[in-house]
């Protein structure tokens, strides 16, 4: 009897010692939570980024990053937010209080004010995608939300996209801007003013949620004399629009959408090969930027990720939207942690982020601090556009984001 106890104890101690010894070398995990949409109609946009994010984090973790002599690694935990503010808040709370995340990244959907509130209350740093008054649900009083970092200034991005189109097609007559009416509100005032100020000729139209048949809107644009129609982020509608304008015989009307191409094959399949030619999308792939300088290390990493994901999914993976967001968040976070010399004091990390300069996959960015667009911290990313040619996506034009006056 006693013998057994001794043997068990010895075994236990050995295992423990080895475990502790190996733990010394093991990097310490920092959990980063990501509330994102994984169910419902918007789920494809949450889903498409998952593989590259995980692949990128794996690559990043090979090296890890050192703070105070210890090596740290990131671990991504995702929770479905059902694309509602309610779900966003619930997901954020689960991540913060049940999983113990000190950092949240993401929430790519519009409904993140509730996530911001939760993160702010818990003094958890939230690095998110967009942020200013022009975005639906825009929060962004730096005094109220001191722990929120915005990845890119969507309004600036929005304007820059249009400027990039103008650069690519300087002889355009009029740009038609189409958006779903559930996003109406922002564009009514600020965007219109900004576009006017930028000297862009445009007409705006709104379609009700769920509209697949866009013929009435195509006709309205045609009658208003638009030769380019730019659709705000609705990929399915863009494909339908491209197809329908082709069928109606308006073949010279150019179509584009804000947001990167999910997969060129999809556009060819839905719109038809002819109709999809010349479709304009955002282009995030850093390795082909012409005006923005990017650290070649990241270009290599991103290319590697594309390959890993292609292999995993067994088909070419050419979605590039993921490059702009989570990788940059994690780069900013790791660099800020190194500068601050701490991994859990969010106040100290935040202090470093504010006004600091960071190396990201889309170039070096200085966080503008609390002075722009009413949002606490903003960094921009260049508005690069691409266009579908044949069955490939090629570089079209680029317009660097500058803070608006």
């Amino acid at each position: 009897m006693k013998k057994w106890i001794i043997i068990w104890a010895a075994l236990f101690i050995t295992v423990l010692t080895f475990g502790l010894a190996s733990a010394q070398n093991e990097p310490i995990i920092i959990k980063v939570g990501m509330p994102t949409v994984l169910s419902g109609p918007a789920a494809p946009w949450g889903q498409v980024g998952m593989d590259p994010y995980h692949a990128w984090i794996d690559l990043f973790n090979k090296e890890g990053f050192k703070v105070g002599g210890k090596t740290y690694n990131f671990k991504l935990i995702t929770v479905d937010d059902k694309n509602t503010p309610e779900g966003g808040a619930a997901a954020a709370k689960q991540l913060i209080y049940s999983d113990g995340c000190k950092f949240l990244a993401g929430h790519w959907t519009w409904n993140f004010p509730s996530v911001a509130t939760v993160a702010n209350q818990a003094k958890v740093i939230l690095l998110t995608r967009t942020g200013n008054e022009a975005v639906p649900g825009g929060v962004y009083d730096p005094k109220k939300f001191p722990y929120v970092v915005f990845a890119n200034d969507s309004m600036g991005q929005y304007i820059a996209d249009h400027l990039a189109i103008v650069e690519a097609y300087p002889k355009y007559k009029k740009i038609g801007i189409l958006d779903c009416v559930i996003g109406k509100g922002p564009a009514a005032d600020i965007t219109v003013a900004a576009l006017n100020k930028a000297g862009i000729r445009f007409v705006q139209e709104w379609f009700p949620f769920g509209t697949q048949d866009l013929t009435p809107y195509i006709t309205r644009f045609k009658e208003a004399g638009c030769d380019i129609v730019y659709i705000a982020g609705w990929v399915g509608e863009t494909m339908a629009f491209a197809k329908q304008r082709w069928e109606m015989g308006f073949k010279d009307m150019k179509v584009g959408h804000s947001g990167p191409f999910v997969s060129v094959d999809m556009y060819l399949a839905v719109s038809g090969k002819d109709a999809a030619q010349g479709l304009i999308g955002q282009y995030w792939t850093s390795w082909e930027f012409k005006k923005t300088k990017v650290n070649p290390k990241y270009i290599k990493m991103c290319k590697e990720v594309q390959e890993i994901v292609s292999k995993k999914q067994g088909k070419p993976f050419n979605y590039t939207g993921w490059v702009g967001w989570l990788p940059n968040h994690l780069l900013i976070l790791s660099q800020a942690m190194q500068k601050a010399g701490t991994v859990d004091d969010t106040d100290a990390i935040m202090k470093v982020i504010r006004g600091g300069t960071f190396d990201t996959t889309i170039g070096k960015w200085t966080m503008s601090g609390a002075k722009t667009y009413g949002s606490p911290i903003v960094f921009g990313c260049p508005a690069a556009l691409s266009v579908i040619k044949g069955d490939k996506e090629v570089y079209l034009s680029e317009h660097p984001t500058k803070p608006l006056p």
Binding site: E205, W206, G210, D213, P216, R220, A240
Partner: protein, 283 residues
């Protein structure tokens, strides 16, 4: 006056809603239940056609037929396994609402969530001077015409069709035609849901295909049959026509406000004529 393209577009929309609504109203008038899963059968039909063409490689009309048959079988299964075992219209309604989530989830798991397209089916357009019409749209209209003619013949000249019409008027009339009520309701469930699937299949090449495309057609055909009068087959067709043209002609004039017009129209019609345009009077 809106240009011709808008009217053609309204016709296409009407065709889709008519076929959907007709199936729904058939199911309602015989089984007495409102099938909230109708939109999901539409979605499944689109997927069947998609895979029939891309993976199996059978021609489009056959794929369409396959969609109708497969989904009809599925709907009969649903009736046998679920609907038959639940009593009370209200609870059957809620169960079919639960099935919305079930089928959307299943479709997401099996087919994936990303948009799929069938633009290569019947590509090309007919140029008619000031405007053009694609072959796909012509296919939609002619398909709807054929379906409506077949249904008309079936409902007026076959035994089962007569039994369906009689039962729609009076619940236990089926036996007069020597058809058992059980067989009749299975047939009707199959036909109704098969119609939804074929509507999905024929509309699919026009738009994108993903697991969530069923929601809007479902609401639209629900509104169509309610405007037309629940239980009235003519009403479903007229309701479908109204909504189809509303969605294109009114949208052409009023842009996004067409949504408001749509819902206000429904409210007003129901307040003025609570039984719908073609429904039998309650009193």
């Amino acid at each position: 006056m809106p240009p011709a393209g808008i009217w053609i577009d309204g016709l296409i929309q009407s065709c889709a809603y008519m076929t959907m609504a007709f199936g729904m109203v058939l199911v309602f008038s015989i089984l007495g239940i409102l099938n909230w899963t109708h939109g999901q059968f539409y979605m499944l039909g689109a997927f069947v056609v998609y895979y029939a063409i891309t993976a199996v490689g059978i021609p489009f009309p056959l794929g369409l037929l396959a969609a109708g048959v497969l989904v009809a079988g599925l709907s009969i299964l649903v009736k046998k396994i679920i609907i038959d075992h639940i009593t009370g219209d209200l609870y059957v309604g809620v169960a079919t609402m639960g099935l919305i989530f079930f089928f959307e989830g299943a479709a997401s798991m099996i087919f994936g969530m990303q948009d799929k397209g069938l633009a290569r089916v019947l590509p090309g357009v007919v140029d008619l001077g000031s405007f053009s019409v694609s072959y796909q749209k012509i296919a939609v209209v002619s398909f709807t015409l054929v379906i409506m003619i077949i249904l008309f013949i079936m409902l007026n000249f076959t035994r089962i069709g007569l039994a369906i019409r009689a039962t729609a008027q009076q619940p236990d009339a089926a036996s007069l035609y020597g058809v058992s009520v059980e067989r009749l309701s299975l047939t009707v469930m199959g036909i109704g849901c098969g119609l939804a699937a074929m509507a999905g299949g024929i509309i699919a090449p026009l738009y994108t295909i993903n697991p969530f495309i069923g929601g809007i057609p479902m609401i639209m055909s629900l509104l169509a049959i309610v405007i037309g009068g629940l239980g009235s087959l003519t009403g479903a067709i007229v309701g479908g026509l109204i909504l189809g043209f509303l969605n294109s002609v009114v949208a052409y004039h009023l842009s996004y406000l067409s949504e408001v017009v749509l819902f206000m129209l429904v409210v007003i019609i129901l307040l003025v004529r609570p039984q719908g345009l073609f429904g039998a009077s309650v009193k």
